[in-house]
């Protein structure tokens, strides 16, 4: 499972180089060590291109934490005899990883940032994969009576007016982007001076746990909330209903897109495999897997499949 061909001399050299840069130091007077290191390093200093049998997928924490990827990825790995390495971070960071050419393919959920990624030429095209929705969760007794709100902006207005504790991801993730858009539509600008507004800069799971401890309100994707519900004993869904179909604010829909990083921009990416992955995740068979995931456990899917191929087949 763990592949690591150690290259100690090269790592030593690289680390020394980094060390010198960091400390702004002049080379240490140690010819006895430096000389042999340098010669061996040149011998191994051939560019290591990412192995053809490996794909690096940068994605959001929700697809990984909900267990969806663990459920569907083995199918792709087995069919193509490859290993998919998943780096699960906030959507903002995932897109940055793609922008630097450090990932081959992205599966993220922040439409505006995705469209910008394509417009900047970092990817050739973006495809719809699936969607779910956001919900507002809060304390069981719902002190602010958010449950009566007509839409998400209205709910946020009520929270702000009562200065009830609100927990924000604060990490430029897709959820954070959506949250800020809702504040904007409520014509409220949250600032750090507002004592009730907590931007904690962490993932969805941590944010939900934090809200549970502090008895605060937060915006969550439904999938992560459902998968952690048993640990969130002090929280309930105060806006968005028990199922996606019950969500009365269509702005809370949460679409996920897939993009292969453009090889014209980043020649080292594994484009062929990335496109294979894109076509695979959009295929009807995979979409059926996605649509069925979580139904037995939660009584509803965590993600609703909606690739063009899947819709055409319906």
């Amino acid at each position: 499972m763990v592949r690591m061909k150690p290259a100690p001399p090269l790592i030593c050299l690289v680390s020394l180089l980094l060390q010198l840069t960091l400390a702004g130091c002049s080379p240490a007077p140690a010819p006895t060590v430096a000389a042999p290191t340098a010669t061996t390093a040149t011998a191994t200093l051939a560019p290591v291109v990412r192995q053809p049998g490996e794909l690096l997928l940068a994605t959001t924490t929700s697809t990984a934490d909900s267990g969806l990827l663990t459920f569907i990825l083995p199918v792709f790995e087995k069919a193509n005899n490859v290993k998919v390495n998943v780096v699960a971070v906030g959507t903002g960071q995932a897109i940055e990883i793609g922008r630097k050419g450090d990932a081959d393919v992205l599966l993220v959920h922040a439409r505006a940032q995705e469209d910008k990624f394509v417009a900047d030429g970092e990817a050739k095209e973006r495809f719809d994969v699936m969607y779910n929705d956001f919900i507002i969760v809060g304390p069981k007794n719902d002190p602010v009576k958010v449950a009566g709100a007509k839409d998400a902006a209205d709910a946020f207005k009520a929270i702000a007016a009562a200065q009830a504790t609100f927990v924000s991801r604060g990490d430029k993730s897709g959820t954070n982007t959506k949250e800020l858009a809702i504040w904007a539509s409520a014509k409220i600008t949250p600032t750090k001076e507002m004592k009730w507004y907590n931007a904690i800069g962490q993932g969805m799971g941590e944010t939900l746990l934090f809200s549970n401890e502090q008895q605060g309100y937060t915006l969550s994707d439904r999938g992560t909330y459902l998968s952690m519900q048993d640990k969130l004993t002090g929280l309930t869904i105060v806006f968005g209903g028990q199922k996606l179909a019950d969500n009365q604010d269509k702005l809370l829909l949460n679409p996920y897109g897939v993009m292969a990083v453009n090889p014209a921009r980043h020649p080292a990416v594994n484009y062929d495999l990335a496109m294979k992955f894109v076509n695979w995740i959009l295929s009807v068979d995979t979409q059926k897997l996605i649509a069925g995931y979580g139904v037995d456990k939660y009584g509803q899917p965590l993600f609703y499949a909606n690739s063009a191929q899947y819709q055409a087949a319906q």
């Binding site: 090269l10 140690a30 290591v48 934490d65 998943v86 699960a88 941590e206």
Partner: protein, 229 residues
């Protein structure tokens, strides 16, 4: 309190069952930090000894830089290693980002100044009379350095133990440059963060207990080594 006790109980059961995924995480932690420690020791002890023995003019400056290096915040190291190893960075051609090699690199950057600096301090504190004595017996410079190092071994071992404790328990840098990829770059500390994030406290506690046991075992082993002549 209830949750904590239940977590510890489940953790014990998990460790006793010899879970495969758990073993993989522990092994990778040991491989990454072990390799980083080996490299840091091989580079740092000779350099530290050389610095400790020499009386160069740049002495004060080197000491100041080394001590700064010893206090580098790991997450800052992680950030710079990330930017260096990124495909758009100066060492991007290596393709090391999000691999164990990147983690080893970051840990070497953290451990190397510790080993070098503490070795230097240990060597400097050796009685200068020893060098005079060894030299008068006709020892070469290398033999002289070796004699001093042997005399300073308690400090040198302490340096290595401190470095190991520092890197195996470090999370910020390895999270950034390794990416916490399951089965590839997930180590004890990043797994603890992940499981806490998901509310899986018993697994997090199990990993935490193993981490504690590892650092304890390493300390005991190295302390025994220190006792031998």
């Amino acid at each position: 309190m209830d949750e904590l006790l239940r977590g510890i109980e489940q953790a014990m059961r998990l460790i006793a069952s010899g879970d495969g995924a758990l073993a993989e995480i522990v092994l990778l932690s040991l491989r990454v930090s072990g390799l980083a420690l080996l490299i840091s020791t091989l580079c740092g002890v000779p350099v530290g000894a050389a610095l400790g023995l020499s009386r160069s003019r740049a002495h004060g400056l080197i000491t100041a830089l080394l001590y700064t290096g010893m206090g580098l915040p790991p997450v800052v190291v992680g950030l710079f290693v990330y930017l260096f190893l990124s495909r758009s960075g100066p060492l991007g051609v290596l393709g090391w980002l999000f691999t164990p090699r990147a983690m080893v690199s970051a840990q070497v950057v953290i451990a190397l100044p510790l080993v070098t600096g503490l070795t230097m301090t240990a060597v400097r504190s050796v009685d200068p009379g020893l060098r005079v004595q060894v030299r008068s017996l006709g020892a070469t410079r290398l033999q002289e350095a070796w004699a001093v190092l042997l005399e300073a071994r308690i400090g040198v071992v302490a340096a290595i133990v401190a470095a190991f404790g520092g890197i195996i328990s470090e999370v910020g840098a390895v999270m950034l440059v390794g990416g916490d990829i399951e089965g590839k770059t997930r180590v004890l500390t990043t797994a603890i963060v992940l499981n806490t994030r998901q509310g899986e406290f018993s697994l997090a506690i199990a990993l935490g207990l193993i981490l504690l046991a590892l650092t304890f075992a390493a300390n005991v082993a190295l302390l025994r080594l220190q006792g031998r002549t």
